[in-house]
Assembly symmetry: C2
Homo-oligomer: 473 residues x 2
Amino acid sequence: MSGENDLSEETRADAAIEDLEDLALDEDYALTSEFVDMVIDAADRGDGARMAELVSALRPADVADLMGFLTAGYREEIVPHIAPDALAEILSELETNIREEVLEIVAPATLAKALEALDSDDAADVVDDLDEAKRASVLAALPAHERTAIEASLAYEDETAGRLMQREVALAPQFWTVGQAMDHLSRESEALPELFFDLYVVDPAMRPVGATPVSHLLRARRETPLTEIMEPVTEIPVDMDQEEVAYIFDKYHLISAPVIEPGGRLVGQITVDDIVGVIQEESEEDMLALANVSDAGRDASMVGIVRSRLPWLVVNLVSETVAVSAIAIFQDEVAKIVALAVLLPIISSLGNNASVQTLAVAVRSLASRELNASNTWRVVRREVIAGLANGLVLSGIMGAAVVGFYHDWKLALTAGLALMADIIIAAVIGITAPLALEKLGRDPAVSSPIIVTFVTDFVGFFALLAIAAGILM
Amino acid sequence: MSGENDLSEETRADAAIEDLEDLALDEDYALTSEFVDMVIDAADRGDGARMAELVSALRPADVADLMGFLTAGYREEIVPHIAPDALAEILSELETNIREEVLEIVAPATLAKALEALDSDDAADVVDDLDEAKRASVLAALPAHERTAIEASLAYEDETAGRLMQREVALAPQFWTVGQAMDHLSRESEALPELFFDLYVVDPAMRPVGATPVSHLLRARRETPLTEIMEPVTEIPVDMDQEEVAYIFDKYHLISAPVIEPGGRLVGQITVDDIVGVIQEESEEDMLALANVSDAGRDASMVGIVRSRLPWLVVNLVSETVAVSAIAIFQDEVAKIVALAVLLPIISSLGNNASVQTLAVAVRSLASRELNASNTWRVVRREVIAGLANGLVLSGIMGAAVVGFYHDWKLALTAGLALMADIIIAAVIGITAPLALEKLGRDPAVSSPIIVTFVTDFVGFFALLAIAAGILM
């Protein structure tokens, strides 16, 4: 009887959690603001049981999202009510700046316990965010083999394959059959990753010679030699930049890939779920760089935000000051024909817009390796011809507008010619600036917007006023 | 003896292919321009055997890359030398506009044969690019069940889960044990996808009740009921937009997810390798939209390029013409103090830059669902305060520069105040424009750059000249 009661109470509790889950996420699995308000409300009332209940209804990624929607004060309220066994995964989901803050609240012993539940790559990520003193005490509280794994991972440079990979790998020697491999995989669950998709076949020097997806293992006959069903692998050098790794995963639709040391020895594997995050990161970086923002991360402090933007604005102020010197040179012309002051910003705006269009396309093509020595010349030519076509149409419209407003065909001719020149220069600089930066080994997205803005403004101003000085004076 | 000779010849041929592979790709697995030149060279000589040899040394994704680097004329030379069994995968790797062109060269019967080798989602993608007449003849040449699968896939709207999913799924009823499931998977290889990562457990109405990764199946004891080891699934409605699907995969680190009809019946699955491409696409779309480019795709024709950019430039020309009306109103002031004409573009450039910074961050936050009703007010306030801080610093520098150049502290005050006003407006419009577009159900990245440019320019021009009229006249 009592057993039955327990069961129905459990069922009721399950149903309540189910309801909370439905409340927490909208149909697109994004956290609802109603749920965030419920959490804030519980925190305001200091209702710890309610906070624990709300948080436990969420998956780790959603708790991480919740933290992003709360202010630091509320985060501090919530963290103690997170179940210790959920903490590890939540930590690995948090954005760096929020994670750093949460890590300060959690005790080293609790943290060490949580880290044991994570794969080596995720654990290393978390440890990397600890300050010197806390890192030492957390590492000391870990079992020796976990500590070694984490320290080994941290020895690789940030944003490389070595940091992305996990050391746990499903391996088989090349003389095994499918049956031997399957028996091994079902027994040796300790050393295996929590989840794996490919079994790597290695030679005696631990060099990968092939791989077979787990689903193919299931389908093959037990006596089949592994070498018969294995497929070629795409090896990732341990020091490869994560952007290259993401490119390779995307290109070849990889689910996992072995990571090798110089010499070819297998040291770990990277799985596609780690790569999805990298792809997001890398394209966000490009987008922000093109908008002249250094990434400050979610929930950056006010200082962080200003620091990510002000330096670019100052550079812009300086370069623009140089660009307007073209106007200063011709100030007598401007004083005589004030219409020029009205036309200057139009030409500058269009030149800018055209160059940023070309720039964005070029940065995208470079990132996806669609632009290299074999088609550079063709792409540059295409951009310039497109600029010519756009310039012709825009100059025509602008010239007509000037005639309409000012009834001055000489002024219209001046504006049209200057715009034409600026749009063509915009195409040239929009494609050559990122190519040149890439050739110099720099990120083509960073700082090219400043360069193209400067060039198109200077040329636009100079062209309009010099042509005006020639034709109109 | 002869057998030995055969073997060594085969080995030599293998070694030659190995060499070509090394030549084809650099250490980052990107196609080298040397290899592209070798292909062009072979095509120029009309050496079909060499073309076939070169192409066969590449993986499908690299052949697709190669096609992108060649001009249309060379592509036409190469296509006939692609091995028929490699064609299917290469087709599904090609960019749409190149694929359309290649599809015109290939005969319907060859095409039908190639499509049979693909999963239903990839095959549907290819068929979608065929013109009406060719589509009919290709579909007619396909076996009935393939045709049905492709037609069913095409019945879903473009860029939805229904189009992304494949209909082939590994399934088990909920009363099975691990052993029964494994026996089923090893026998029923016909109906199964070529590669799979999760086994979905379904109820009698075919609604998914859970899933278990294949690697967990291997590790469990044969007599364990599936319901004991299965994990909850994240269901994807068949009409969900691919951008939402990508968000969910990224957030929960999914490898595969079941796709359900209204009512909950399982109709297919989406795997992460399809999603990696979607994530790339969606963030590229945002980046290009912020640069006022409609995506024209790789190797777009000249007309395609102009069409993807010119409309935005025309809109920019019109909006900028309206913005400069602020200057036209105050032309007497400009004629009297020409320095104003020099300062106008600086203020406009900085206002623009500041608003695009805020805009890019907002678009990024909206895309990753980091911005919703619960933090909108906080984010807007933070942007405005950051604008205030940036504005103070920039106005200070600009004021000092004006005093330095023009020795006129009233002009410096005018410039400083106007810049301050413009930077704050830039912050306000940079965050509210994308929020408003999102609220209206529009893409926040598209058309917001035009809006923020117009607003910051108009306000900047008006502020500088109105303040000048008040202080200096």
